[in-house]
Amino acid sequence: MDGTIVAIWMLRLLFLAGLYAFLWAVVRVLLRDLRAAALEPGAELGRLLVLESPGGEPEVGAGFSLDAVTTLGRDVNATILLDDEFVSTMHAALTYRGRVWYLEDLGSTNGSFVNGSPVEGTAPLAFGDELQFGNVRLRLERPRR
């Protein structure tokens, strides 16, 4: 009889220990995942993904890591060079202030568009928004972590 009780106690403790062993294994996976994420260069504030670019510069599918101030245009001094005949030399600027991205049109000839609506002056952006300058379409994405 005593043997049974000891066995049952063992089983009970084993079950609880197993529960925590599982949690331990999970936490190890989670920690590895978090460490890997922490090692990645995480300074970027957002990304621009090229959806459409008839001129071939930038390439479709390319992703740009964004600084707090990013200029776009045909000018070689622009942070991101857009080689498209409908894009002005200094077309637009993306700025990051107070955890929000803003798009500012720098007086371009053909205008800047967010999700199909033209931007006058400065407009706040959400991650996932689609931007269009001339024939170039880009999507603002959250920084990769």
Partner: protein, 478 residues
């Protein structure tokens, strides 16, 4: 150029089978789950043998051969294989965690009186729902690739949710004084389980669309910064819906859950503490008002303040739950060692739906329930992690919201069982008995796994569609 795709044709539209991608971590964790559950099953069987339980007839054979547990583990493996075949780089932790919770639920339901559920008996009915739930996790995690169908129709989803709510108001029937259950022919279910998913989808769509405006502009009232007035309307509507659920359905749990998830998502989207403070104040104000107005709210709060005043009346459930926790102590009485029945009825009324946490506290003790709470924390961590690495706001808020639904729901019912907050009758995700709850939780975890995909081309935002139309801008004269 080479990379360009014809728009309008979804990528991979052809029936190309993806290359399987093995998931060693998931398999390893599932192996631990299977081992632990086998030990639990043996512990349960041994305890029952010792107690010489002539046994709730049906379950004896069911348990002895362990077929229930085996088929559950088989279901988990099937879901694992499905995810491997889908070839996606998705989360490998959620399925085992859910499997552990479901397995514990199975062990608990097998030891309760089987007559609580007609037909197959409690344990087997729960097994069927658990298998269905795990199947949903696997299928949704493997198949759902685009979120456009959720994103584009957010107002339609919200309308469906409100519609279901109204239908339940009108046609639902009352169970235990709460109007929660809706029957269509032979099928009955609790629609609020579905509504909570629709709510998160709508909030993710709404908040991601208006996030910049919500952060940027604000109207000041004294020291408080309120959201801009036009954007307040949906929030006030949200508050009103939560309160009306309390009034009409008498469902405090769902109201609390909806409102808490709403506030959390609002905070996640805007990082404004003031919104949360205002929300909590509005909730307390509404709560105080309803306390004066509605007797069923008053009863709940009075029980919470002093259950022992009515220990054999209204407070019976809560008092019995506290006794169960006390009996459990640090290590518990062991699976199957809890108080089975008092005079043929459950020691705690509605134990299998509303008080599984108390039953687990009795059998596994403080150590055991802390472990179980840890499992829910893992779900939340994964959800927030998936949110942090999401490519856009919609996916981020959706992932955070889905995992918080599970986490907040577990917290509300666990805290209610422990008399930390007034008791509200909602289910403990993946553990409580009940089909609607298990299926809804399965959908949530399946979506989380689908959202965790980190493949290159997969987070495809709707490239064309009614919600986010992009037109070619009209070019200037030259």
């Amino acid at each position: 150029m080479t990379g360009s795709q014809p728009t309008g044709v979804p990528r991979g539209a052809g029936l190309r089978l993806p290359r399987p991608r093995f998931r060693p971590r998931e398999l390893g964790l599932l192996a631990i789950v299977a081992t632990v559950l086998a030990v639990g099953s043996a512990s349960l069987a041994a305890t029952r043998a010792l107690r010489g339980e002539a046994d709730p007839a049906a379950s004896a054979g069911f348990l002895a051969d362990g077929s229930g547990l085996l088929s559950f583990i088989g279901g988990l493996l099937a879901a694992h294989v499905l995810l491997v075949l889908s070839g996606r780089r998705t989360d490998q932790v959620l399925l085992p965690t859910v499997g552990m919770l479901g397995g514990i639920s199975l062990l608990l339901m097998e030891r309760l009186p089987q007559s609580l559920a007609g037909g197959l008996g409690l344990g087997r009915t729960q097994l069927v729902w658990l298998l269905a739930s795990v199947a949903l996790v696997g299928v949704i995690g493997a198949v759902v690739r685009s979120d456009a169908w959720l994103r584009l129709y957010k107002y339609s989803w919200a309308a469906v949710g409100v519609g279901i709510l109204l239908v339940t108001f009108v046609f639902g029937h009352d169970v235990n004084g709460q109007r929660l259950t809706l029957s269509v022919g032979p099928v009955s279910g609790q629609p609020s389980e579905l509504i909570k998913i629709l709510l998160v989808v709508f909030l993710a769509g709404y908040l991601s669309e208006n996030r910049p405006l919500l952060i940027e502009e604000s109207s000041r009232v004294g020291p408080l910064r309120l959201p801009p007035i036009p954007y307040l309307a949906p929030m006030i509507a949200m508050w009103a819906i939560a309160l009306s659920i309390v009034v009409v359905q008498k469902d405090l749990g769902a109201a609390l859950l909806f409102f808490a998830v709403f506030l959390l998502l609002l905070y996640i989207a805007t990082a404004r503490v003031s919104f949360v403070v205002i929300g909590i104040m509005a909730l307390l104000l509404g709560g105080a008002f309803l306390y004066q107005l509605l007797p069923h709210v008053r009863v709940r709060v009075d029980i919470w303040l002093d259950p022992f005043a009515t220990a054999s009346g209204n407070g019976y459930q809560v008092v019995q739950a506290l006794h169960a926790f006390a009996r459990g102590g640090l290590l518990g009485t062991g699976l199957g060692g809890g108080l089975p029945t008092i005079g043929g009825v459950l020691p705690i009324p509605a134990l299998h739906t509303d008080f599984p946490f108390a039953a687990l506290g009795e059998e596994l003790g403080l150590v055991g329930i802390l472990g179980i709470l840890g499992l829910y924390l893992v779900v939340i961590e994964r959800g927030l992690r998936i949110a942090a690495s999401a490519a856009d706001d919609f996916r981020a808020i959706l992932a955070a919201g889905l995992s918080l639904v599970i986490g907040v729901q577990a917290f509300i019912i666990a805290a209610g069982n422990l008399k930390l907050i007034p008791l509200t009758g909602i289910t403990l995700p993946f553990i409580s008995y009940g089909g609607s709850s298990l299926l809804a939780s399965g959908v949530i975890v399946g979506l989380l796994i689908a959202l965790s995909d980190r493949g290159r081309d997969l987070p495809a935002v709707a490239e064309s569609g009614p919600g986010r139309v992009q037109r070619m801008p009209e070019h200037g004269a030259r």
